[in-house]
Assembly symmetry: C2
Homo-oligomer: 213 residues x 2
DNA sequence: TAGATTGTTAATCGATTAACAATC
DNA sequence: TAGATTGTTAATCGATTAACAATC
């Protein structure tokens, strides 16, 4: 159990969000099968996932929601703590900036970049936009470790290379092209085209979806 | 090999896009290891994936790119053929409409819906917007089988239920909340929050990303 | 105690990887 | 032929699922 899979981390992220809501609703204790039900997972799997965060439950009352949240919180940490840069201020880039700006301190974008001089030096959704030439300097100065790529396909790989050269250690790629990254740099492909084609394929044939994580 | 996993379908979608580009570049034949290299996959896996489409290669020249594309095309089909509805015309919804409108006939959105009367009856990016009350009627009349959910969290589950009731068989959910769907309805969770937290977790610890698919 | 839940171990399942014979 | 690639089978790997003892 020394190596944590990305599936477990993904599920923990979902648990955190669901538990956040439950705490807001005033729930103090929760059983694994209740959390599983809310997340579309299996109770035994939930228990095993929660164990990796170091939190344990109680056979009579289940898990303490507040303790559980604190446990997941300290295990996952917050993306903003690592510094997030967004490259490519098109429709999708702006949508993500808007999404991250609205009361989501955990997902705060520290800096945005674009090659279009028209977009540079403005402040959009509370986030300053820099020219591409300032990418390395700005990332290093602000200790940015996460990059979100929302550029056109043609620019995606060179942007990824530039981000990695600037010290970034994790990437989210929204451009519909597979990227190459060196070992040690985590890459999450956010491929809308691929996902939509999966939906179409299985909608045609009537299969249910994959599990979360 | 009678049941095709969603991972295989996902990889085929990526192969198609990469092969499209290669055909445009004038490449006529390709070896499995070349395609694998361009997609970050393993050659043996690529060969097995391509076999499920019914296409076979040739030990001397590899695969004919044009035949391969035709084969993948007829296997995957096109999402637009099933009819796509988008619900929730916020920042993200508009960004997706813009994305799908620009020379992407395979991803053409047939109808959009929103509960805000201000947004209704307009045409955005070549797509007409209807009020939520018209959802079932419009989906049935146009034979829409795929739904994209870009509403706030609070509305996501009821929108999903309404879409399923209107005959939709596949869903993409961008709202950061796990949805419940009946068996036979394929659900693809597009969870930016979760993915960003995965990136942050592994960026902190220096692990490479998961494979495509 | 009795009963339901937790934490742990074993069994199952599926996908990936490796090995190799068949092919051009 | 010789050499590299394809198609197929077997082995490995990891995650999920099921079973059960420990716990409150």
């Amino acid at each position: 159990m020394n190596v944590i899979s990305d599936k477990v981390v993904g599920r923990l992220s979902v648990y955190r969000r669901v538990l956040d809501q439950m705490l807001a609703d005033g729930l103090q204790f929760i059983y694994s099968h209740q959390l599983a039900g809310a997340c579309g997972a299996m109770a035994a799997q939930v228990r095993r996932d929660l164990m990796v965060t170091g939190c344990s439950g109680n056979a009579r009352r289940g898990y303490n929601v507040r303790d559980l949240l604190a446990s997941i919180e300290s295990f996952l940490g917050s993306p903003s703590d690592l510094g997030i840069a967004l490259v490519g201020i098109g429709n999708l880039g702006r949508a993500l900036m808007a999404y991250c700006s609205v009361r989501r301190p955990r997902m705060h974008i520290a800096a945005a970049f674009d090659s279009d001089p028209e977009k540079v030096s403005r402040v959009t959704h509370g986030c300053r936009c820099y020219p591409m030439e300032k990418l390395e300097e700005t990332c290093r100065r602000n200790g940015i470790l996460i990059g979100i790529i929302t550029t056109p396909v043609s620019a995606a790989q060179s942007v990824a290379d530039a981000l990695v050269a600037a010290g970034v250690r994790g990437l989210m790629n929204f451009a519909p092209v597979p990227l190459r990254t060196p070992p040690g740099v985590y890459l999450e492909e956010m491929d809308v085209t691929m996902s939509l084609e999966k939906v179409a394929y299985f909608a045609r044939r009537g299969k249910s979806g994959p599990e979360i994580g």
